[in-house]
Amino acid sequence: MKIKLSLIKLLMAVTIVMVPMAVLAEEPAKGTESVAAETKLAPAPSASAAAPEAAASAAAAPVEAATPKPVDPVLNTGDTAWILTSAALVLFMIPGLAFFYGGMVRSKNVLSTLMHSFVAMGIVGVQWAVIGYSLSFGPDAFMGLIGNTSKALLNGLITFKDGNPVYTLFQNVATEPGAIPEYVFAMFQCMFAMITVALISGALAERIKFSAYCLFVLLWTTLVYDPLAHWVWMVDGWLFKKGALDFAGGTVVHLSSGISALAAIMFLGKRHGFPQERMAPHNLPLTMLGVGMLWFGWYGFNAGSAIVGVNCSDAAGGLAGLAFATTTIAPAAAGLSWMIAEWIHAGKPSALGFGSGVVAGLVVITPAAGFVQPGAALIFGLVAGVVCYGGVLLKARMKYDDSLDAFGVHGIGGTTGAILTGVFATVGATGLMSGNFKQFVTQIIAVVAAGAYAFIVTLVIAFVLDKTIGLRVEKDDEIVGLDQTQHSESAYN
C-alpha cells in the first residue's frame, strides 16, 4: 500500500519536472565525474576500497582521477569546530522530539512520553561508549554486517606517546589530508543513535511499560541500529560497498525506526479505547515548539553529515552549505504541501498539519541532503507533505494504533526519501534522472534490506520482551495514566 502510494507520487514528480531536472542533471556531471571514493570511516591506509560502483555509470571518467595517493590526515580546526557544533545541534533535536511527541499525547501521559526520549539519551549514551560505536564503526567483524569490538569503550581514540596524549584522527577521504579528531566523529554519531530509537517511542506512547521500554532501547540500538549503521555508513559495510546512498540517515535512522515502530505495535496492541475515545493532543504549542527545535537541530544532522560526504574532505565547506540549503527548502515546501493537502481534503489548514509537514520534509530530504540540488529539494518537500499526509490517513483507515505516527511520518518518509535519492541525485553521485538506473535499483535494495532486517529483528525483540516481562502496562494503569503509574509524578500541578 505504502509503496504503491509513494510510487504514484514518484511518477507524478518525475513527469512534472522532467524538463527542468534534465537540465539540472546535466550541469554538474561535467564538473564532478569522479564519483569515486565514498569513504565513511577511512583509517588512512584503506584508500583502494574506493570506486567500485561509480565506474559503471561514469565510464568516461578521466584517467588522471584514477588513483591519487593516500596522504596522512591533518587536523582541520574549522571542520572540527563545525562538527562539535553539529553534534550539539543533533543532541538538541532529542528534547525537540520529546516536546513534539509530548504535546500530542493526553496530559496524563506527557511526562512518560518526554521520558521516552530523554531516557534514550541516557541508555544509548552509555551503550554507544561501551560497545555501540565499535559495533557500528569498528573494523568489520563479519561479511560487512557488523563491526568488531576493538573500539569498545572508545578504545584507541586516544594514545600516549612519551606521556603526551595523541588524538586519533578521522579522515573522510584518504587521498586528502582534512581530518577531525575521531572523538568528535564518534560523538557526532552517538547523537544519531540516541535520536533514532527515540523516534520509535512515538508508536509506543501511552501504553508501554517503562521497564520494557528501557530494555527495548538497549536491545534495539545494539541489534538493529548498530548493524544498520555499519552496513550503510562504514567503508566495509555491505550496502556501502554496493554504493547505496544515504547522506544523513534516511535509511539508517528514519526508515529503520519507522518500520520498527510498525513491528513493535504488532505485539503492543492498540491503546485502550482506540479509536472511539477522544485522544486529542493535549498541548499543541508544545508540539510546535518541538517542530522548531527539530528543524533547528536538523541543520547539524544534515549539514554536519558533510563530514562523510562523497569525495568531500571538508566538513565545513560547500557540501555542508548545499545540505543546509536543501534542509531549509524541503521542510518549507513540505509544511506548505501538507497544509494545502489538508486544507483541500479536510477543510482547514491545521497547525499540527503544518508542523507535521515540516518534520516529514526534514525526514524525506535527510538521505538526499548533500546529493541533490535546490530544485530537487523543492520536489522532495512537496512530495513529502502529500505522501506523509496520506501515510497518517492510512492509520485512521486501517485502524492500527501508531499513536504519534512514527511509521506514518518516519517509515513512509524515510522510504520515500531513500528512493527519491536514487532518482534525483546529481551531486557526487547520479540517479535515475541522470540515466543511472543502477543507482535506483541499489536504493531499492537498501530500502528493502534495511526495512526487512529492522522489521524482523524488532518483531523478535518485541516478542521476547512481551513473553518475559510484558510490554504493556496493566489496563487500570493505562487508564489512570503512565505519568502517575510509571513515574509517580504528574506534569501539571
Partner: protein, 112 residues
Amino acid sequence: MKIIEAIIKPFKLDEVKNALSEVGIEGITVTEVKGFGRQKGHTELYRGAEYVVDFIPKVKLEIVVADELVAKVIETIAESAKTGRIGDGKIFVLPLEEALRIRTGEKGNDAI
C-alpha cells in the same frame, strides 16, 4: 431574595460584568462550565483522527439580588450577553431562603 444563574458565552463575561456593575451589582460568582444545548458541539481533526466535541465551554454566573432588582438584572444580562447567534445561553431565577455575611453576621438583603 433571588439567585440568578446565567449561562453565557465566555467572551461575553467582561461585558456582562461591566453592565451589572453599572446597575449596582456588587458581587458575582463565576464558574467555567461545559455543556450542550441547541448549539450542539463541533468536530476537531488531528492528523485525520476526528473527534466530536459535545460539550462546549461556557461561563456560569451566580448573582444573589434583592427581589426588586431581579427584573433589572435579568434585562441587563440578556442585553449585554446577546450576540443573536445560537448558543448565547440562558438565565434561570431561583428563590433564595437566606444569606449571611460571614465577617459581620449580617443577614438577608444586608448580606448581599
